[in-house]
Amino acid sequence: MTEKIVLVNEDGIRTDGRKLSELRPIKLEVGILSNADGSAYIEQGKNKILAAVYGPREVHPRHMALPDRALLRCRYHMAPFSVEERKSPAPSRREVELSKVIREAFEPAIFLEKFPRTSIDLFIEVLQADGGTRCAGVTVASLALADAGIPMRDLIVACAAGKAGGHLVLDLNDIEDKEGEADIPVAYMPSFNAVSLLQMDGLLTIEEFQQAINLALEGCKQIYALQKEALKAKYQAIKESAEVTEEE
């Protein structure tokens, strides 16, 4: 066995140079795939994740259609090359579970009742994983849904907090997730102060848990601002290109 890894040094600095309550650098892009009705891409630290939305469209197979609302389907999937040891492309039990909780995270946000008998299909492909992929996946999928023009009550934003090296930390990376004491992924609708995804593994007292939740929600609010900027940036780019053509 290797010696114990120091996750937080005596100055309160983490393995990747971050402070305890600092997010990883985040890059968001909206509308990057031409076939999908909506798409987006996120880089959060070393995570690289694509999301695409198809729909509302006709449901296949047809018997799955719901008479009073749209059927939301979600697939969270990791590319075989996204992790250290090749991952079999067949969906693992973890991926099936995450697809379910991510779908449930979005159901309260989308006006599904506006599109009865249709399906909205949400695909999240993790191209490179470095911890916190379900949260980054939710954050980027939310932009893909907005890009597809699907009416939502709010953007869903997700971020994890947890405990690593004896300290409460925000936005755990892979090594903090694996070697740390606890990980709490949270998805949130900031305008409603409503949590739509919550999981935890590890060991925490109630007091630590309460602090960690608040930390995660603070992280969510920061990412929420980035999400809005990314959406505006897409239309800003369209506007600018239109202005250029007019001048010509």
Binding site: S99, K100, P108, N193, V195, S196, M200, L203, I206, F209
Partner: protein, 265 residues
Amino acid sequence: MTSIMVSRIRRQQIAQLIADGKRLDGRGPKDYRPIQIESGIIGKAEGSARVRLGKTEVMVGVKIDIGEPFSDRPNEGVLTTNAEFVPLASPEFEAGPPGEESMELARVVDRGIRESKAIELEKLCIIPGKKVFVIFVDVYVLNHDGNLIDASTLASIAALMNTKIFKYEIKDGEVEKKPGFSPLPLRDVPISVTFASINGILVVDPWLDEEEVMDARLTIAFSKDGRICAIQKGGSGTLSPQQIIEAAHIAKEKTEELREIVVKS
């Protein structure tokens, strides 16, 4: 699944009662249904238990085998949890490959046992990096009347508590069984408490009718020392941060009661 109209009427009725602090089956918001635990009911399994939580009935069998450790944990035994929604348990269950519900159930039960470090996996190594004990926890749902997570967690931990491991000796790098058994080394008794949020009000141990109308489900598991060891939110509704903290405090209290029932059984 009941029809949309029936579920809406039912929902109204259940939600109205809950707003008055009552429930359709006469329980209070923090009351569990009666719990019955029978241990060691399957002689062929190394450990077993059947839990009845009201009309919900879950059986767990623990089987032990010898296998390879994970490459990143060469000195530890392996825990594998699986859940089976047997078609005789509910008109909703169908035979076939496991669906997302049963995978989620298995993973939430597993999370409670694993994260509390309930099984002393480091004592289950036979030959480091080569041979370890593999503990299979198989959850068998026999009658579904709601709150499968808590019933399955109770049954799993009850089964692990009466699990015995065969004695062995190593001959030329091969493991040979010897007569006699020793108990599975356990250091914790993780217990989960599941809530349904119905119109923003939390009730514990939802039965099937409440599950069908609930907005969201929240499971919180606690280890013996009163720390949270697993959480899972389910369902297509939301919870406020205040509700989550309130649930954690109620759950801590309830897990202590439930743990006593398991330990005494």
